[in-house]
Amino acid sequence: MEVEAAVKLDGLTVRYGKLTAVDNLTLEVPKGGVFALLGRNGSGKSSTVRCLLGQQRPTAGRSTILGFDSWKKRRRAMERVGVVPENPDVPPATTANRVEKFMARVTPFWRSANYFDRLDSLEVPRKERFGRLSKGQQRQLALALALASSPRLLVLDDPTLGLDAVARRKLNEEIVGELADRGTTVFLTTHDLAGVEAIADHVGVLHGGSLLVDEPLEALKARYCRLVWAPAEDVPQERIEAGLQHLGVVGTDAGAGATEAVVENFSELGFDRFRQEAPVEVMRVDPLSLEEIFIALCGAEPEGRK
């Protein structure tokens, strides 16, 4: 079955009693890309991933993976999905060899060679119990399990957690250079914003259960920037604020030698209007990193969190 979207969330809502963890979340992840779902702790990422994987029934709305309803057709959907959970959940008494035997029996497109090659290349012991492996090795094993069947969709829930810098880089390079090239869609959640900036081509930002951002990373980065201008005592503050409105100001910070403003809708036209409105000496216009954008978006507590 050919579908355009690898992942589709439609009005997904998750409530725990009176707490709304995910609020009417709607998004689509096209096939073949790397989608990063970002958010602070408690923003609803894990609930979203659990619903996406059919492990939790949403309170309202639905999610589909590769065209299959995640809740109702989970078993079918999971045939072509690889999952690396936030906390590797392989039974602790099981060895890599044993878990391979199990996976070979239940996974239709399982490739043992893929699995063992990966373990061997990362020097993950095959006969050691999972519970005795280091955290990094556990995560590598989980990743090997997820990738062995050449999934069409790879769901990574904070995959770099516990990995050293080398392993993180290797994983990121693999996602970009290998999986994306094979047409595998990657849906990942992470707090490693610097790492994801290099590999994601689409990001979503969850804040307080609501989706603040859902757009290509490049477009996002183009929108956000930092203006730095010299103090101008002859320009009234009201004019500066009016000028910043053309750029969608997020916040300002007045320092001793310069004033900074983070804007979220930077454009040449808007910048010209700002300068006409507020004739200040603009020292520079800096692009923002993903991390800076994220802090600008999520630094404040969400309003109206139910």
């Binding site: 994987l53 059919g54 078993r75 996976m103 239940v106």
Partner: protein, 639 residues
């Protein structure tokens, strides 16, 4: 199925450490007979007992531990997602793990039982009553039940959601339902039905826990709270359906009327009026018997509470058959409400009284059914039955046993009791003046040894005592005055004497060539009439179906008892005979109690109503109608 088997195999491998432990226990059991102090016992017995107990104990402990942790721990620690991230269904996850655990537990049991199996073979599984399936079922079912219970409780405790109130309420309701379903069957004393209902309840528990557990995992998946809610909903809704089905089935088992009887057993027959106390089974109702008061002459009956077949506390009738009373339902050995019915009404109804009587109390109704005497713990209490008013209570002297009291009229009771005089058994005869509340001794029959039985005629004037001196094979039958106890004469020792309604004595004994010699004589022994009833195999004299007419029964085919009994009415004055029917299975002789005042070894008199009732070959209760000469079907019988 493939995924279920894969999960099962994985789980067995993950917990295979249990098996060496079981082997170690089995080895220890094998060595047990060689230990000091134990070597004095039979080695086979030691191994068998140790193996059986250890297998069940280990199986149960492992089932409990694994039940509490297999899913519960993984859910708490977030590890169940490993399975739900694979293309396997929730039911595969559940059943794969359950089957794995049970396979391991059963393997452990077999390994631990090996020493006993090696020495005793399959006899290890033979219970004391010879049933092979019960111990095997115990080894198989008990761990499964414990596993499922431990799992359910573990989820409830770990999740701690408000659904636990439903669980608590459900458990209480189930306990009440179990009690309500088992208690009536237990009181009826039907072990097969009890076993079936108990088995159904266990099956309901197994099914409900299985469905609850499977639904919890399949629907709740990795969310412990949702696992709990799904488990509770599925468990209790399944349980409700199962319990409703069992309750309906149990009610159907227990509740059936005389119309549905197939085999009828007559327990007590009213001396007059045609009412009988009968129990019967019905098709498909296992070993449950219902007890009814049934009118043999009209299409009426009253249900009686169930009681054990061993109980001798059947219904009691007044001599005129106008009233009956019986103990209500309730636990044995506890005082129970006394019920009564006015059988003289066109539509008799059972009515409870305010009186409580124990199982040990003896009950007697007056001839007209207006008064009741209760003999209990050495005291005779006389009540006015309609008003339930105590008229008088009289304390009996010490040293009386096997006491029987009978109303001669509403104001007078006759008492017959055995007493020991100079180490010899004697019969005490006394009269109780109800109005004065006095017991007056009227006579004693001394010097009797080993009284087998005694009988009193309808007018309470004469009594026959059958006694035997030590070493004698033939008992002596002696006629006494039933008031003063004075000796009248010895009766023919070889026969079986009984009173006819008119006070004459009929003695039947075996004659030559299989014939019966029937002697009818007045109390004086003069004017004896002797008849010889023609040769017929197995002939016996039964009840007095009409005045001076007794039933003689004999086998239709001496070589085949299944062909039934033929009945002949024998006129004791003329010797004339009249064939009144055949295809009869049993006659009044086989009814346990023939009158309303029988106690222990005491027969009151020969009852016409009794003599006319028979059980035919289909198991139905039938009545011979003297007017039409026909056999009339009353109730029951295999269709």
């Amino acid at each position: 199925m493939k995924a279920t088997m894969a999960i099962m195999a994985r789980e067995v491998m993950a917990r295979r450490e249990l098996l060496p432990l079981a082997v170690a226990v089995a080895v220890m059991i094998s060595l047990l007979p060689f230990l000091p102090h134990i070597e004095t016992y039979e080695a086979t017995d030691v191994r068998t007992v140790a193996s059986s107990v250890s297998a069940l104990a280990l199986g149960s402990i492992f089932a409990l531990l694994l039940g509490a942790t297999v899913f519960g721990s993984d859910l708490s620690e977030g590890r169940l997602g490993f399975f739900f991230a694979r293309p396997v269904s929730g039911f595969s996850v559940w059943w794969g793990r359950v089957l794995a655990v049970m396979a391991l537990v059963w393997m452990v049991e077999i390994i631990v039982l090996t020493p006993a199996l090696y020495h005793e073979g399959i006899h290890v599984f033979t219970s004391s009553d010879g049933a092979d399936w019960l111990p095997i079922l115990t080894y198989v079912i008990a761990p499964l039940l414990l596993f499922l219970l431990a799992h359910a409780v573990s989820i409830v405790v770990r999740a701690g959601t408000p659904w636990m109130f439903l669980d608590l309420g459900g458990a209480i309701v189930v306990a009440v339902f179990v009690w309500l379903n088992l208690r009536p069957v237990f009181e009826i004393g039907a072990p097969i039905a009890m076993g079936v209902v108990a088995g159904a309840l266990v099956a309901a528990l197994l099914i409900s826990l299985s469905v609850g557990g499977a639904s919890g995992v399949a629907v709740g998946r990795v969310d412990l709270r949702r696992v709990h809610s799904a488990q509770s909903l599925a468990l209790w809704s399944t349980m409700a359906i199962c319990l409703a089905a069992i309750t309906v089935y149990g009610g159907w088992l227990r509740n059936f009327g005389p119309r549905e009887f197939n085999d009828v057993e007559v327990m007590t027959v009213a001396p007059d009026g045609g009412w009988v106390e009968a129990v019967g089974r019905a098709k498909g109702r296992l070993d449950i018997r219902r007890r009814y008061l049934i009118s043999a002459t009209g299409n009426r009956w009253l249900p009686l509470p169930a009681q054990s077949m061993r109980s001798q506390n059947g219904a009691r009738f007044s001599s005129d058959g106008s009233a009956a009373m019986w103990r209500g339902g309730g636990p044995a050995n506890e005082p129970r409400t006394l019920w009564w019915a006015d059988l003289g009404r066109p539509d008799p109804m059972a009515r409870p009284t305010s009186l409580l009587v124990s199982d040990q109390a003896a009950l007697t109704l007056s001839v007209d059914g207006t008064r009741l005497a209760i003999l209990e713990e050495g005291t005779v209490s006389i009540y006015e039955l309609g008003e339930e008013r105590l008229v008088k209570a009289i304390r009996l002297p010490e040293g009386l046993h096997r006491v029987a009291v009978v109303f001669s009229d509403p104001d007078t009771l006759r008492l017959f009791a055995r007493i020991d005089v100079d180490d010899a058994e004697s019969v005490l005869i006394a009269e109780i003046d109800v109005a004065a509340g006095k017991l007056v001794r009227t006579g004693v029959i001394p010097g009797l040894e080993e009284i087998s039985w005694f009988a009193v005629d309808a007018g309470l004037e004469h009594m026959i005592v059958s006694s035997r001196t030590a070493g004698d094979l033939v008992s002596t039958k002696t006629l006494f005055d039933a008031v003063e106890g004075s000796f009248i004469r010895y009766l023919d020792a070889k026969g079986f004497p009984r009173f006819l309604r008119d006070g004459r004595i009929l003695t039947a004994s075996e004659g030559d060539n299989g014939s019966i010699e029937i002697v009818v004589e007045p109390d004086t022994g003069e004017d004896r009439v002797v008849h010889t009833f023609g040769a017929a195999f197995g002939s016996r004299v039964d009840g007095e179906a009409v005045p001076n007419g007794v039933i003689v029964s004999h086998l239709v085919d001496p070589t085949d008892r299944t062909k039934g009994i033929r009945l002949t009415l024998f006129d004791v004055d003329t010797g004339e005979t009249r064939n009144i029917g055949s295809h009869v299975r049993s006659t009044a002789r086989w009814f346990p109690w023939q009158s309303g005042v029988s106690m222990g070894f005491f027969w009151y008199c020969n009852q016409p109503a009794v003599g006319r009732l028979f059980i035919d070959q289909s198991g139905a209760l039938v009545r011979w109608d003297p007017e039409s000469g026909e056999m009339v079907h009353v109730v029951g019988g295999r269709k």
